[in-house]
C-alpha cells in the first residue's frame, strides 16, 4: 500500500476528483453495456412469449371457426 491512510487514498494528492471521476465513468460505461445486454435479452424473451401468444390466438380462432361451421350445417 502506497498511501498512509484511507483519506489520503481518496484525496489522491489533490487529484481525487479527477481520478475518481475517471474511475466512475469507466465502470459506469462498462456496467451500462452489461445492463443494456441483459435488458435486450429480456426484450427478446418477451418477443418469444409474444410469438407464442400469437400462435395460441391463431389456434383458438381457428378452432372457434371450425366449431361454428360444424355447429351450423348446410
Amino acid at each position: 500500500m502506497y498511501f498512509d491512510s484511507f483519506s489520503a487514498f481518496i484525496h489522491m494528492g489533490g487529484y481525487g476528483v479527477y481520478v475518481w471521476s475517471s474511475m466512475f465513468v469507466t465502470f459506469f460505461g462498462l456496467g451500462a453495456l452489461a445492463l443494456e445486454a441483459s435488458w435486450a435479452r429480456r426484450k427478446i424473451t418477451q418477443e418469444a412469449r409474444a410469438q407464442q401468444a400469437r400462435a395460441e390466438r391463431i389456434q383458438r380462432a381457428k378452432s372457434a371457426s371450425t366449431q361454428q361451421q360444424s355447429g351450423q350445417p348446410s
Binding site: 400469437r54 390466438r57 391463431i58
Partner: protein
C-alpha cells in the same frame, strides 16, 4: 328519410381539365351511395370535396342542411373518412394504430382490441409493426376503424382495394350494420358491388376531355 348530406352544383377543375361540373348528390340516412366512373373521372376529388379536404371551384356541400364550412367541427366529428392512403402508421402495431383512432374518435378502446382485430381477420398480427404486414392487412387495420366509429356518415375511397374475398364480405356486412342503424355510406369502387345485401345507389361520373 331526411337528407344527411347534400352536394349541389359542384365543379372541380384540376390543372386545365374540368373534372365535373354541376354535380349534385343527396345522401339520405340509411342510404349507401357508390360513385362510379373510369380512372381520372374525379371520383377521389369528389369525395375529398365532400369531406371538406378540398375546396370546390363552385357549388356547396351541406350537412344536415348547414354548410360544412360553417359547422366544420360538428361535421368532422360525424364523419369517418378513409382515403386511398390508409393512414396506418407503419412503425406502430395494429393495436397502437387502433388506440390512436379510438382516442380521436372519442371511443376509448374499451372493447377488447384483440376481439376487434380478430373480427377484421388480423388474428396473430396484433402486436407486429404494421410495416411488416401486407398491403391488404394494413388496409384491414384502417378499416377496423369502421368498428370503432359512431359517425353517421362514412366516406370511403376505394375501400375494397387489396382486400380478399373474405375481407370484402366482412365490409359488406359492416355496411348493412351502418345502414340499419340509420347511418349512411358514400364510397367509390371500380367494381360493381356484387352480393351486397343492401340497396346500392349509383352516381356515375364520366371522363370529361
Amino acid at each position: 328519410m331526411t337528407s344527411l348530406l347534400e352536394a349541389k352544383g359542384i365543379r372541380s377543375i384540376r390543372g386545365e381539365r374540368t373534372l365535373f361540373n354541376q354535380l349534385d348528390l343527396c345522401v339520405k340516412t340509411g342510404e349507401l351511395w357508390q360513385v362510379q366512373g373510369p380512372n381520372g373521372a374525379g371520383k377521389s376529388s369528389f369525395l375529398r370535396i365532400v369531406a371538406g379536404l378540398l375546396p370546390a371551384q363552385a357549388g356547396e356541400v351541406r350537412f344536415r342542411g348547414e354548410l360544412i364550412q360553417t359547422i366544420r367541427s360538428q361535421y368532422h366529428s360525424n364523419l369517418l373518412f378513409i382515403g386511398h392512403k390508409a393512414a396506418v402508421k407503419p412503425e406502430l402495431t395494429a393495436i397502437e394504430n387502433l388506440e390512436y383512432y379510438a382516442a380521436i374518435q372519442g371511443q376509448p378502446l374499451t372493447a377488447a382490441p384483440y376481439e376487434l382485430l380478430e373480427r377484421v381477420g388480423l388474428v396473430g398480427l396484433e402486436d407486429i409493426p404494421a410495416q411488416r404486414l401486407s398491403a391488404g392487412q394494413q388496409r384491414r387495420i384502417a378499416l377496423a376503424r369502421l368498428w370503432l366509429s359512431s359517425a353517421n356518415l362514412w366516406i370511403l375511397d376505394e375501400p375494397f382495394t387489396s382486400l380478399d374475398v373474405s375481407g370484402i364480405a366482412m365490409l359488406h356486412e359492416r355496411f348493412s350494420w351502418q345502414l340499419a342503424r340509420g347511418g349512411s355510406v358514400l364510397l367509390t369502387s371500380h367494381q360493381p358491388l356484387d352480393n351486397i345485401p343492401v340497396q346500392v345507389n349509383m352516381l356515375n361520373l364520366e371522363y370529361q376531355h
